[in-house]
Subunit: 200 residues, 2 copies
Amino acid sequence: MKNIVYFNIGDKMNYPNGIKKGNDNKYITYKNRGMTLENDLNQTNQYYIDNDIAYIYKKPTPIKVVKADYNTNGRVIKEAYYSEPSTTDYNGIYKGYYIDYEAKETKNKSYFPLSNIHAHQITHLRHIENSKGISFLIVRFTSLNLTYLLPTKDFLNYIDNNKKSTIPISYFESYGYLIKEKYIKRIDYLEIVDKIWRLS
Amino acid sequence: MKNIVYFNIGDKMNYPNGIKKGNDNKYITYKNRGMTLENDLNQTNQYYIDNDIAYIYKKPTPIKVVKADYNTNGRVIKEAYYSEPSTTDYNGIYKGYYIDYEAKETKNKSYFPLSNIHAHQITHLRHIENSKGISFLIVRFTSLNLTYLLPTKDFLNYIDNNKKSTIPISYFESYGYLIKEKYIKRIDYLEIVDKIWRLS
């Protein structure tokens, strides 16, 4: 059984090289090229794979098939619906650890709407947390060009102790970790994982 | 970084309670009720979840959507195709470890056709193996009522050293582990994982 050491709340790391908030981030220009969070994560995860850093991948979108048939291309689905996701979008291995996260964007400047995270996904995150996996949310406030990593522990703490339908950005500022954007490793979230979970 | 100890090939465990091959397995009658391997795995994984033993789940089937529209039920997919899977079907956490496997059935009595495993899935299993994850195949020979766990290491060893399109059942007998069927924990593969990877 692995022994994962969490920081206590408030026991934050200092990031000497400035994982800092605000629009003065010199890397932010890349954001303006119209990359979505998903593209940034795909590019970052590919970098991790190509450099044998981690193996983290996106799961398929769950689809419920109602009607299928055959045509010249083989089996074709004629009627299907997107299902509510029962897990998060991304998972994999890093340094032998199970890692799992959900990534979301919001245009809102002051809060993150909890309607973005489905009930099944919260159950999933609780399972991961109980099983000592490393998990978190990556939330991008697109209008602010800010991307935060929020550990599941702190996410669950919030929703278990607040009856609100949103998480204010101040909570991300207090309990989340700002991910600075880079050129190739677009959003190098493992750098932050190393520090939070003390893996390096 | 976790230190996973593999057995050397040939260094097999003894199973005093008889994880044995052959049709004399007294649990085999349940198989005849027409349970598929997938059903058995779903039931077993649910047992693991309900009893806080492990959190292992099935990934969605990858589907490529070509045409979508809206109807009274919301967004409806009008044309889509099953994609070749790029990962295995199941993964999750057990005792803090990343665990990942693919499950396949074959009606054949003497060999397992490798056409059942896609190239991308083999690449996926190599990534897991290189990243020190626990991974394996679960293969059921339905005509024989035999279900084997074959560690990825031994699976890769075979395909890297043989140009054949099948794995003979004798290879499963030598390098695989027979999973006995039980009533509730239909196929309690974690019992075998504990022994192979020395987790208990």
